[in-house]
Amino acid sequence: MSKRAIQFQLGIGACLGCLFLILYAIPHWISSPSNIRNIVLSPRFWPSIVAGLTGLVGLGLLVVSRSTPHESGLANTPIDAPRAGLIRLAGLAGLMVATFWLLPRLGMVWVSIPAFLALAFLARTRHPKTALVCAVAVPMLLYGFFAHVAGIAIPQGDYVRLP
């Protein structure tokens, strides 16, 4: 993606975001008492100002994108296999969702170990044995510190509980 395209997409996104906020999100997702004497005291006032400014910045970005030359070059360094990269990113998103969902069910230690290994695999580590050792040692050490030194109730899950 070129720098010009980035400016243009951001400008369009900011303008659409502004419209969405003013026309839908602020009226529907912010409750405001009906008897407010002064508009500046309304809970909707500040988000509306922010939304309006977002629209202005969006317009500014659109104007700037028009003056950016077409041949402004690539904004990001391309990677070798973008398709494989996207698959890995999808895998990471899945890993995060699974980690979040499993944390209260299996416990932080038992989720962190496979999460560590899965991330090392996704990052194509060249040190699988070290990764395996760290995957077990790091969550255990952190559990020991947080649970026994800091006195924080680390989630233990429903199945295997640690001392």
Binding site: K3, I6, Q9, L10, A14, L21, W29, I30, S32, P33, I36, R37, N38, V40, L41, P43, W46, P47, V50, A51, V57, G60, V64, N76, D80, G85, R88, L89, L92, A93, M96, T99, F100, L103, M108, S112, A115, F116, L117, L119, A120, L122, A123, R124, T125, R126, H127, T130, C134, V138, P139, L142, F146, V149, A150, G151, I152, A153, I154, P155
Partner: protein, 496 residues
């Protein structure tokens, strides 16, 4: 009692091994706590508090002050090495510290962070001792309109951390301001973007947003391009900070220290805005302006001086007025109370020996911080040598534990993951993260003070210009905006 008598009484209290050890142990705990992302100086102080109960009051308070000061410096270690600020105050250190680490100058960056921290610490402590009464009375005259004007001026620092595009920086800041509105409305108690979820009623957890925005995108980037770092050096390197570096950055360190002292003496501002403001000022005035954000050592010096300058100054309102300057000093005020002490003007009469004992301890703490910090830099060397594709899973697990530990809330882990993706997208679209963070910190303060001012005046905006303090900050804001506009126009003209 005369000044000499007071100093001698203070010496009698802290001139022993116990007090010295308490301070040293506090600094060690603070540096370690600050260096572990998610623990933060605040959490380290809170964790250490119960251990001070059986100690002598002055020793216990010195231990906590040691944790505080050590924590603020310690936060810079992971900020530089793994781009994960150990404390929010170290966020600005990432901007130049991490690029230096990426090109194999982590040791130099950490060394400068330590030197700047210790210098700022000395200045901050001296300011506390010399200016406690005067600065505290000045800060006491701040009401909501003055705070509004001050915070509005602080928001102009966004221009300094926006990188190549002011508009993208502004967009980032607006996103931060918008996300800061999530939660219950402070005046009416109504819901704003909470979707009925009780976890959102208190707003988004700052640490979750901070770690999500800075650490998780690094992990996502590693997964997106696992070999992207190959060939890039990320070790402490053989290059260490020199006296010439220190001399070159001295003006920025001095300026940052005083910015820290000034902002620290005003309750509620905190170390992170001080670090960003100091960084922004250093960038504005530096002859190496173009290198800022790409690994300029002066940037590291300025941000570390800014955040450490706050550490002693936050004690000014605490000791002189009994008003905590930030969250950490609020915890420390609890320690005073546990030991039967009431900080405030009367303490200067009733417990003047403790006051002077603390002053002496604080002066000692700067030297101890230098020793402990130098050892910590070498101690954390292995972190720099860990292969990136092993380090990133470690960072992920550390972030999960750290973010959970702040509020004992798994929801915060989810917030961190979501913010990680937001941060990744922002980096792909070249939207800088620092303006987002500054706006996220300052946004609620700005809105609350604005609405409080309006409540006070019955909706009349005249109150926002009610006195010399507000005029001063409005004037500064205006001058800064003019300077930014001129700078942007000049840059555009140069391109043409």
């Amino acid at each position: 009692m005369s000044l000499i008598d007071n100093v001698m009484a203070g010496f009698a209290l802290v001139g022993n091994v116990d007090a010295f050890l308490a301070l040293a142990i506090g600094i060690v705990i603070g540096v370690i706590g600050g260096a572990i992302p998610g623990i933060s100086a605040t959490m380290a102080v809170a964790l250490a508090l119960p251990f001070t109960f059986p100690m002598q009051p002055v020793n216990g308070i010195l231990l906590l002050l040691g944790v505080y000061k050590g924590g603020i410096f310690g936060g810079s270690i992971p900020a530089i090495l793994i781009k994960t600020p150990g404390t929010p105050a170290s966020s600005a250190t990432i901007l130049d510290g991490h690029p230096m680490a990426e090109r194999g100058e982590a040791g130099r960056a950490l060394g400068m962070a330590l030197w700047a921290s210790c210098t700022a610490d000395v200045i901050s402590n001296l300011s506390l001792i010399l200016l406690a009464g005067w600065l505290a009375s000045f800060a006491l005259s701040f009401g909501p309109p003055e705070f509004f004007a001050l915070i509005l001026f602080s928001l102009t620092i966004i221009a300094g951390v926006s990188g190549e595009s002011l508009l993208r920086g502004a967009l980032s800041a607006l996103l931060g301001l918008l996300l800061a509105t999530i939660g219950l409305d402070l005046v009416y108690g109504t819901n704003r973007f909470t979707f009925g979820n009780p976890n959102l009623m208190g707003g988004l957890n700052f640490i979750a947003v901070l770690i999500g925005l800075f650490a998780i995108p690094e992990i996502i980037n590693t997964v997106w391009n696992p070999t992207g770092h190959v060939g890039k050096v990320r070790t402490l390197g053989s290059k260490w900070v020199t006296f010439a570096d220190y001399r070159r950055c001295f003006r920025s360190i001095l300026r940052g220290s005083f910015i820290g002292v000034f902002l620290g003496s005003i309750p509620g501002i905190g170390a992170a805005p001080a670090a960003f403001l100091s960084y922004s000022e250093a960038r504005r005035t530096s002859p190496n302006k173009a290198n800022f954000g790409k690994g300029e050592i002066e940037g590291v010096a300025a941000s570390e001086a800014g955040n450490n300058g706050v550490a002693g100054a936050t004690l000014i309102p605490l000791l002189a007025l009994g008003v905590p300057g930030d969250v950490i000093t609020a915890i420390i005020i609890g320690a005073f109370m546990v030991h039967g002490l009431q900080p405030g003007p009367m303490m200067f009469v009733m417990n003047v020996d403790i006051i002077y004992g603390l002053f002496i301890g604080l002066i000692l703490s700067s030297g101890l911080l230098f020793i402990v910090g130098s050892l910590a830099i070498r101690g954390f060397k292995p972190v720099a040598d860990i292969p990136k594709r092993i380090l990133m899973p470690i960072v992920l697990v550390l972030c999960i534990y750290g973010v959970f530990a702040v509020n004992n809330n798994i929801f915060d882990v989810g917030v961190m993951f979501v913010m990680g993706w937001v941060g990744f997208l922002m980096s792909r679209y070249h939207i800088p993260a620092a303006p987002f963070l500054i706006a996220f910190i300052l946004g609620p303060l700005l809105e609350d003070n604005f609405r409080q001012s309006m409540l006070m005046s019955g909706g009349t905006p005249d109150i926002l210009l009610r006195g010399p303090i507000t005029w001063f900050f409005w004037g500064l804001t205006l001058i800064t905006i003019i300077a930014i506009t001129r700078g942007t126009l000049d840059k555009a003209r140069e391109k043409d």
